[in-house]
């Protein structure tokens, strides 16, 4: 069942920051739920940030059942904002997961190399999201990703090595002194008789 998106957090935040707010406006291209008019400098025009709620109004709720919204809806909402003359269009989803999915789809649509960089204008957002909404590529997010992956692999292999053995055969942690003695014995006994080191 789709939840109603509560926009109070966005309204309070906008008002708290002193932006001029517009609610449920229609500039001729369809309804926009909230517009923040951001005044950065008296000499500069306002920056219009619009918030469009993505709803599952068409064909019931199947669009949101797996935390995903259709590309059609995302495209339509983004262009509704663009046609309304907004500088930024934030697509408000029900929850964080859905917002991430929306942002991912926007990135994918932008990746075709179209005239319009949709990802520069539009972004998925959850109403009470506190963390960064911009999708960061893994190369930037994990600068030494390769090393971390290898380390994880080694740790996993060590665990497998340990737990795949039958209980009785599990290697117990050995004292370093004992380990040294055992290894020197193995070394001595594995050599040919004439090459064995003499005992000190």
């Amino acid at each position: 069942m789709a939840q109603a998106v509560n926009l109070d957090a966005l309204i309070d935040m906008g008002e708290g920051k002193g932006f001029k707010l517009e609610r449920d406006v229609d500039y001729g291209a369809g309804p926009i739920d909230i517009v923040w008019n951001v005044n950065v400098h008296p000499a500069l025009p306002n920056i219009k940030c619009g918030f469009v709620v993505l709803k599952a109004e068409e064909g019931g709720n199947q669009d949101t059942e797996d935390n995903q919204l259709s590309l059609r809806k995302i495209e339509e909402a983004a262009f509704r904002g663009i046609r309304s003359g907004l500088d930024k269009v934030y697509l408000v989803a029900e929850n964080d997961d859905m917002a991430k999915s929306v942002s991912g789809k926007i990135e994918w649509l932008a990746s075709h190399g179209s005239l319009i960089r949709l990802d520069a204008i539009s972004l998925g957002l959850a109403p009470e999201q506190t963390e960064q909404a911009v999708v960061t590529p893994s190369q930037k997010r994990v600068p030494q990703g390769e090393k971390i992956r290898k380390q994880t692999m080694r740790e996993r292999e060590a665990k497998l090595e340990k737990y795949n053995r039958p209980k009785g055969e599990r290697r117990r942690r050995e004292h370093p002194l004992k380990k040294g003695i055992r290894e020197s014995r193995v070394d001595r006994h594995s050599r040919p008789r004439n090459q064995k080191p003499k005992r000190t």
């Binding site: 001729g28 909402a77 983004a78 262009f79 509704r80 663009i82 046609r83 994918w108 075709h112 949709l118």
Partner: protein
């Protein structure tokens, strides 16, 4: 009972809609082929289908392909216009033509596109054209202003 009725109605409605789209598409496909363009039906790079695309080289081989997209609108709504523009732009269409069934609807769609705020980043009137299939067909035999002028000049001389 009422649910069954409504689902039957919606099925019938969507069937009618598809039929109308086919009717609107037919002359455009024919015209594109007769003009020697590559005609692609339901051109889709992932953003949703553009009903027809005419793909051609503008003069030289070294120039990139031009893609003229046609999207058929069966009824007027802002959401269908938004969706059509989004699909065309994101599918790398260079110019979009909305094909509508009547002259009355042409006016509505044109007004909707031209009513965009002037300060907007996109000036859609430069990207979108609205026609009816009859406009496309009937104008094909008419000479342009330039041709007419040159004919007149010849007559004067």
């Amino acid at each position: 009972m009422s649910q069954q009725n409504s689902s039957a109605y919606s099925k019938e409605h969507s069937h009618e809609r598809l039929q109308m789209i086919d009717t609107l598409k037919a002359p455009i496909i024919q015209m594109g082929r007769s003009l020697g363009y590559e005609v692609v039906e339901n051109h889709d790079l992932g953003a949703g289908p553009v009903h027809i695309a005419w793909i051609f080289k503008p003069g030289s081989e070294s120039m990139p392909d031009m893609r003229l997209g046609f999207i058929c609108l069966t009824e007027f709504s802002n959401s269908s216009i938004n969706e059509g523009i989004a699909r065309a732009m994101l599918n790398l269409i260079d110019k979009l033509v909305f094909v509508v069934p009547s002259e009355a609807m042409t006016g509505k769609v044109k007004d909707a596109i031209e009513s965009m705020p002037d300060k907007s980043i996109l000036q859609l009137r430069k990207y979108v054209t609205v026609v009816t299939p009859s406009t496309l067909v009937s104008k094909s035999g008419i000479k342009g202003v330039h041709d007419r002028r040159s004919t007149q000049t010849e007559e004067v001389v």
